[in-house]
Amino acid sequence: MNELIIIIISAFLLFAITLWKRRSPSVLREIPALIRLYRTLGLSIEDGTRLHISLGSGSLLDARGGPAFAGLAMLRHIAERTSVSDEPSIASAGDATLGLLAQDTLQSGYQAAGVNELYIPTNGRVTGLSPFGYAAGAMHISQNENVSANIMIGHFGPEAGLLAEASDRENVTSIGASDELSGQAVLYANTNDALIGEELFATGAYLGAGASHAASLTVQDILRWLVILSLLGGAAAKFFGVI
């Protein structure tokens, strides 16, 4: 039941802070990877190149779905911004369900931009159904489809290194984030900028996806402080022999 209490408190905080953020937008700290992402988004439209959004191979039916949903939220915003570009963005997924949602999310972005007729279903792709199969298929996109930036946000393991390496060989800017520690380490070494840990979930807020995204960052901060205080309190209680 403790988990339920945490969920209810988080839901209440998210709801209340979203209402508050609608009236007073928040000031966000600078994250170099997200600044580069924002700049890349504008540049790709201007110079007529594509963005490749790699959503990883996380299944939506298990705990790895969280980063995949964060990637989809970002994709929705990018699709809306780049839908009128000569070279629209491409999304790739390593899970079939995620691939379907990527297509649906791309189409939502086109609808929001009022250019539904420009939507091409094959811009949302499933490139493989195993992590390395996915990476092998997605490498091909960076190399052959006039891509200027490869944005990897989702569940990636070490196979992310192959994607980043392929991007680097084509002088394609790469930005990466993963929920898996091995994936994060590989992306840190291989990409132009990497997002570490929970920064993965901040992309929506930094791209201006709405008050709920900014509110969720504040909720994460509040919960993080509660976790820190609990850890310190527990350590102090143990030290003094209370527990």
Partner: protein, 203 residues
């Protein structure tokens, strides 16, 4: 229609979540999860058709790298038909799996080792900051602490420095990162339950 899909998605999410806490909802939770598994299976088939469609278009328009697309489509079709006729547990299908797919994935892993070493060498050129130096020094210390060296182990590195880095510094950092990811996953899930994010084509 959009409101209808959102209501269905949110109701399904709330019922599945509720099933973890209220036994009365457990049966509905199981039913919904079983539906999700069936739909995911169908989605795999749709995903494969999507893959074929993308690569067939490439072959038709003779785009760069269309030879690889042709190889993919031929191999996929042959494996698919073979699997239907022979069944997945047939010896030939096992040879295809164990003799082609697994070695190819293993060789990609091997390729990754080389690419990671190369990336580590280039890291300082790409991002010459304190954290990059810390990253590289840590990696070198751990490799030296783990590897079998021709002149024997370096004193204290394997017995003191490596355990201290992996079991205290790295473990603490990893737990911090995983707590952050868990909190991010929680708020992302709640946004979807509230209908603020609709990855199912809602808005």
């Amino acid at each position: 229609m959009r409101v209808f899909t959102a209501v269905i998605a949110i109701a399904a999410g709330v019922l599945v979540l509720g099933g973890y806490f209220f036994p009365v909802l457990a049966a509905i939770q199981t039913l919904l999860l079983n539906w999700a598994i069936v739909l995911a299976g169908m989605a795999a088939l749709v995903g494969i058709f999507n893959l074929v469609s993308v690569h067939t278009n490439k072959i038709r328009s003779q785009q760069k790298g269309s030879v690889y697309s042709a190889i993919l489509v031929i191999a996929l079709t042959a494996t698919f038909i073979g699997g239907i006729i022979l069944r997945p547990d047939h010896g030939t299908m096992a040879i295809l799996m164990n003799g082609i797919i697994i070695p190819v994935e293993a060789s990609l892993m091997g390729l990754l080792t080389v690419s990671l070493i190369y990336a580590a060498i280039r890291l300082l050129r790409r991002r010459a900051d304190l954290m990059s130096v810390v990253f590289l020094v840590t990696a070198v210390l751990l490799i030296l602490g783990s590897a079998t060296l021709p002149f024997g182990n370096i004193p204290l590195l394997g017995s003191l420095v490596k355990p201290w880095i992996t079991q205290i510094l790295a473990l603490g950092g990893a737990r911090g990162i995983l707590i952050g990811v868990a909190l991010g996953t929680l708020t992302t899930g709640l946004r979807i339950l509230f209908g603020a994010d609709r990855p199912y084509g809602g808005n």
